[in-house]
Amino acid sequence: MPKLDLNRVPMLKQMPNLRATNFNEVALGYTAEQAQAEASRCIQCPKHPCIDGCPVGIDIPGFVKAIRDDDMPEAVRILKDKNSLPGICGRVCPQETQCEAVCTLAKRKAPIAIGRLERYVADWERANMKSVNSSVKSTPTGKRVAVVGSGPASLTAAADLAKLGHSVTMFEALHVAGGVLMYGIPEFRLPKEIVQGEVGYVTSLGIELALDSVVGRMVTVDELLSNGYQAVFLAPGAGAPMFLNIPGENLNGIYSANEFLTRVNLMKAYMFPEYDTPVKVGKRVAVIGGGNVAMDSARCALRLGADEVYIVYRRSEVEMPARREEVENAMEEGIQFKLLTNPKSFIGDESGRVKAIELYEMELGEPDESGRRRPVSKPGTEYIFKIDVAIVALGTRPNPIIPSTTKDLETTRWGTILTDEATGKTSKPGVWCGGDMATGAATVISAMGAGKRAAANIDEYLRG
């Protein structure tokens, strides 16, 4: 029985007081020594449950062993065989609920820090290897696939399809590729340079990238199918914000998280007026929601210079869907939490600017369909809380542009596109779907898994 090393190697982070004033990356990554030490803890167990725990099936023991043996090019090769976006996944994947949760050493509360190792390999490649397209491409098939969106699902599907020899065009509505990786996740969690580097790797596989292209307006899905594309993969994201629908929600200073994060991350409003897009900084900011987007919004608001930032969440701390790590980071940075609290209305001043939010308390009742205890209002607990900026981070719904302009594309009652989970097929021949547009708002890695499955099915379809 090999001696178990249960000392998980910690990873350095920027100190909270300092990092709350800048947009630089919070997590600082492993050094070579740390990576080797952590990789050496892996017992290379024969069952390797970690591989099944990974939505894209990375050969985790393989790349971890390569780090241990100091064969970094091999670690890169193994990792990128299954994952085209390792620098991104190594930073934003919730490994703690996926591969690390089922790691054999998880039972001993010391799972291998697979996410940190993945990030280490990806960063090593960026620093040490020229942009070599090491994957072997198959002979061109002569088939053309249109991929709608350029976020994680699309990038993954496009890369896999290109490697299989198909001709791929990615259509992106915004002026840069990356989708939520660029506009949603902040710089301090996912540097945009890393995103563009990984997008660059994908496009280096021979994919055509059409920016500023809104499918459903500039060209419809039906037009793509009749103008030379044999298959279409729809992954435009769940790009429509959900609002509370309470009085005063249209007052100035109330943002959807999508708008706030797009201004800050994509349009770099934190560098206004050097960059032209402004955003309201606020003195006292309330962020409504408890997921990763709410944490991101709160931490951006803090970095912009708000004096106080509050998370307002209707359930309790253990129910928060955000990654535990990000909740901890937010708390360390000084973000305050108003839990078991819900908004009732927004109050404005004479100029139409929000000046307060009416809140009331909740308590936990019976569990709902998701298994979490249902929050129940406590009547008579309303109070007025002064704020000057509010960010509504309740989640997103599917954007209606594509469903409303595509014939015979069945949708579900939530507005998502009806999709077969195993294959990505929709009700419309020649059209597949994956990512948030199929599932509702979820994770980067689950979108990538959907991209992989759809690419495999599209390939099968194209080969007849």
Partner: protein, 279 residues
């Protein structure tokens, strides 16, 4: 990058650009808009489509110099390019044979009402157009609008050209003559659209306005452009930009358009210190 094929200085501070954007030109329809970004650090702004040429693959936009972005845009000449050009966005204006349609344009919106008047005429409507500007020096495209209208009334606030007064005055007169007017389209500054809608309301004539809130993406993903119509929140970029003028919460629109006045001022002051005041 999208090349500027042609530049015309129509009147002081109002410019016309014809921009090469074949895919947008292929699909553009009256009432739709584009979102542009002048350069890498620029903001995204919406501009209504004034015209298109599907063969040439070009879109015509007309804009007024107001703040930093439009001033920066106005420095460009034919042969220069802008960073991003996205469209066509928004739902096209509903064109149908209604009967008699009155098209009212305030200020430089004469450019954006032109394709609508043209399409209404082509659909068999009798088109009466009203265009107004503050004074004679700001009047442009009079001939263009006349060529697609059965009747054209021109107004200037100060009476320096044609009929003195605001566009709402001839509009009211037309309604009062008892001539059956089936639809009014009013486009221009928000306050002008509000008063056109107020003018037509007692007569019960359906009045379509083209709302112009602040926008960021233009595809419905952020909610910046939210307006209230009939008490319901709508996104101007995907539910509009056309809405029923009698149902619009105008005060909300005005308030939301003012949200960044301080930031706009700060940005423009920085611009002026770099480029000097516009001559």
């Amino acid at each position: 990058m999208y090349k500027i094929l042609l530049r015309q200085d129509l009147v002081p501070n109002i410019h016309l650009f014809k921009i090469a954007a074949p895919d947008v030109a292929k699909k553009a329809q009256a009432g739709q808009f584009v979102v542009i970004r002048v350069n890498e650090k620029g903001e995204r702004i919406p501009l209504t489509i004034a015209d298109w040429d599907r063969e040439e693959g070009s879109i015509t936009i007309v804009f007024m110099e107001v703040g930093t972005t439009t001033h920066r845009l106005a420095l460009l000449e034919a042969g220069d390019s802008i960073a991003d050009f996205i469209g066509p966005l928004g739902l096209p204006t509903h064109i149908e044979k209604f009967g008699t349609v009155v098209c009212v344009a305030g200020g430089f919106a004469v450019a954006t009402i032109m394709p609508i008047a043209r399409a209404m005429r082509m659909a068999g409507n009798r088109v009466i157009s009203i265009m107004g500007a503050r004074n004679k020096s700001l009047i442009f495209w009079e001939g263009e609008l006349r060529s697609v209208s059965d009747q054209l009334i021109v107004t200037t606030d100060d009476g320096s050209y044609a009929r003195q007064g605001l566009v709402t005055e001839p509009l009211k007169e037309l309604l009062e003559t008892g001539e059956k007017i089936d639809r009014v389209i009013a486009i221009g500054p928000s306050i002008m659209m509000k008063f056109c809608a107020k003018t037509t309301q007692p007569f019960g004539v359906k009045t379509i306005v083209s709302l112009n809130p602040i926008m960021v993406d233009g595809t419905g993903m952020c909610g910046c452009c939210r307006v209230s119509v009939g008490g319901v929140t709508k996104f101007a970029c995907v539910d509009g930009p056309d809405f029923d003028g009698h149902q619009v919460d105008w005060d909300l629109l005005f308030a939301r358009q003012r949200i960044y006045l301080d930031e706009e001022k700060r940005s423009f002051e920085q611009w002026q210190s770099q480029y000097g005041t516009h001559s």
